[in-house]
């Protein structure tokens, strides 16, 4: 279900600045996040990656503009975002199935009265899209790290977003789970015409999957292809080694 068919539509961040308590967390961050591309945000801890995500999701006050623009540079009025959090910290003993959790977000009927047929079908479809069909009846607390990330991805994809934001979704998942999650994500990228912004610490993953890489430290230090960013002097300055050496 592509929303806006154009090769060049993008989310345009124009001089985003976030201040809190006299401290500047982000300074004049400008970037384009293109539809149909996987944009990866890298940087050290405290570089402002999560702050940028919060600003994008409209959760913290910021100055600067966030626009959703089509191929001709015209504004698309609404920006629908989907969000996959880092690691879900919740009470794993809570009696709630994956279906309850999804239905609570997707329908108005209170899930303690049960889940209606329509919602059930919608949940099943959403889970199937992320290779998680068998999980609906399972308690949410019993899901492995990889399963949980796929459930969260299924939720973030409903309703279909223009921009999917993932905050280090791959930390705390084993190798198998990780591969499955990334394959699912890439499939979604191909089948849905949406922009994906992902925060990652896993540089090997970035090199392999990213279409566009942005190096952040309060402001944008470098951006471009993985190769361009990894070989930049800014990358060496931040990480203390050249990303290209690391590859060998």
């Amino acid at each position: 279900m592509p929303l806006h068919h154009c090769e060049l539509c993008h989310i345009d961040l124009d001089r985003i600045t976030v201040r809190r308590g006299g401290q500047v967390l982000l300074q004049d961050v400008s970037m384009h996040i293109h539809c149909g591309q996987l944009t990866v945000l890298i940087g050290q801890n405290g570089a402002g990656k999560t702050t940028l995500i919060k600003a994008l999701l409209g959760q913290i006050p910021h100055s600067g503009l966030i626009r959703h623009v089509d191929g001709r540079g015209l504004d698309i009025p609404h920006l629908r975002t989907g969000y996959v959090p880092q690691v879900l910290q919740f009470d794993r003993e809570m009696p709630m199935t994956v279906r309850d959790f999804m239905a609570a977000a997707l329908s108005r009927r209170p899930v303690w009265t049960g889940v209606g047929k329509k919602t059930r079908a919608r949940v099943d479809e959403a889970l199937a899209a992320v290779n998680a069909s068998g999980l609906a009846g399972q308690p949410l607390g019993r899901c492995s790290g990889g399963e949980l990330q796929r459930v969260l991805l299924a939720l973030a994809m409903n309703p279909a977003p223009d921009l999917l934001v993932l905050d280090e979704p791959v930390s705390g998942i084993d190798r198998n789970g990780l591969k499955m999650f990334l394959d699912t994500l890439l499939n979604l990228k191909e089948s849905h015409h949406m922009a994906i912004l992902l925060v990652s610490h896993d540089l090997r993953f970035v090199r392999e999957y990213a279409d566009h890489v942005i190096l952040l430290d309060k402001s944008v230090l470098a951006q471009g292809s993985a190769h361009e960013v990894f070989s930049s002097p800014e990358f060496s300055a931040v990480f203390g080694f050249s990303g290209e050496e690391d590859a060998e």
Partner: protein, 279 residues
């Protein structure tokens, strides 16, 4: 009312239920326990057991303030104070200035102290000691009507809020990213708990109110796998324990509230055992 008494007399052919005060108590439990048990499911999920305990304690201050301000109606004083207290705790908790259990503890002890200070002036506390243990046998048909209204209003609000609360209790940032106003949702929930607690405190007592809120939901949680099962088990356990406890208290000549809570505690122990066996 007589029709209802008639029906009760037929379905409960026990000596205990010949008396209308027992019939009133029976009806009160029928209305009260499901209300508290449903709210309890979310209080348990939200890890707010301690919080509701503090709310119960604030009833003492509420009544004390009511006396100082010259309010005739204890219930109004308790309700107003309970709601203000609940919102205050909620706001301070959300500001994140201290850890939640510290905040609650401060509120709880402050309200007990303030309540005692006022109520025990001139050694008159004995007059209010019934507040501590409650008296379910003192329920009047008028009270029952209020309870029925409270139950209806709570169910409506509960239906509107439940999904949002559930998502908030899993991850509040995720909930906010989906357009849920988590702070508002939490505060409305807390106010609902405050109202339910204040409405029941005269009959259940400050000491035991929290048990009715938390025990059935905690036991239900041990047995349930889904949200629906949690609600169903909690309500069934609460009703069953309430009615069994009330009946036992008549024959054993014990405090009704205490009997109900002890039966609930027994249910909780059984639920723990069932859970251990299942694993």
């Amino acid at each position: 009312m007589n029709t209802i008494y008639g029906i009760l007399g037929t379905i409960l052919p026990l000596e205990a239920y010949q008396y209308s005060f027992m019939k009133n108590a029976f009806l009160a439990i029928l209305l009260l326990t499901p209300l508290l048990a449903l709210l309890g499911t979310m209080a348990v999920n939200h890890q707010m057991a301690f919080f509701s305990d503090a709310l119960g304690h604030s009833a003492l201050t509420g009544i004390g303030l009511g006396i100082i301000l010259g309010l005739r109606n204890d219930l109004v004083a308790m309700l107003v104070f309970g709601v203000i207290w609940a919102i205050l705790i909620c706001v301070i908790k959300q500001s994140g200035s201290a850890s939640t259990d510290t905040v609650i503890s401060v509120f709880s002890s402050t309200s007990v102290a303030a309540g005692l200070l006022i109520l025990a002036r001139g050694g008159k506390f004995a007059k209010y000691s019934s507040l501590l243990i409650g008296d379910i046998l003192a329920v009047t048909p008028g009270d029952l009507l209020w309870l029925l209204i409270a139950l209806a209003v709570t169910l409506v609000l509960w239906a509107l809020m439940y999904n949002k609360l559930l998502l908030t209790s899993v991850d509040s940032f995720l909930a906010r990213s989906r357009g849920i106003r988590t702070r508002l949702v939490e505060c409305v929930f807390v106010v609902m708990v405050a109202v339910a607690v204040m409405l029941s405190i005269r009959w259940v007592g400050v000491m035991l109110i929290n048990a009715l809120l938390i025990l059935p939901a905690a036991a239900g949680r041990n047995l349930a796998r889904s949200a629906r099962q949690h609600a169903a088990w909690s309500v069934v356990i609460a009703l069953m324990c309430g009615l069994v406890g009330l009946t036992l208290s008549y024959y054993l000549d014990t405090s009704a509230g205490a009997s109900i809570v002890l039966v609930s505690a027994l249910c909780y122990a059984v639920s723990l055992a069932v859970r251990a066996v299942r694993k």
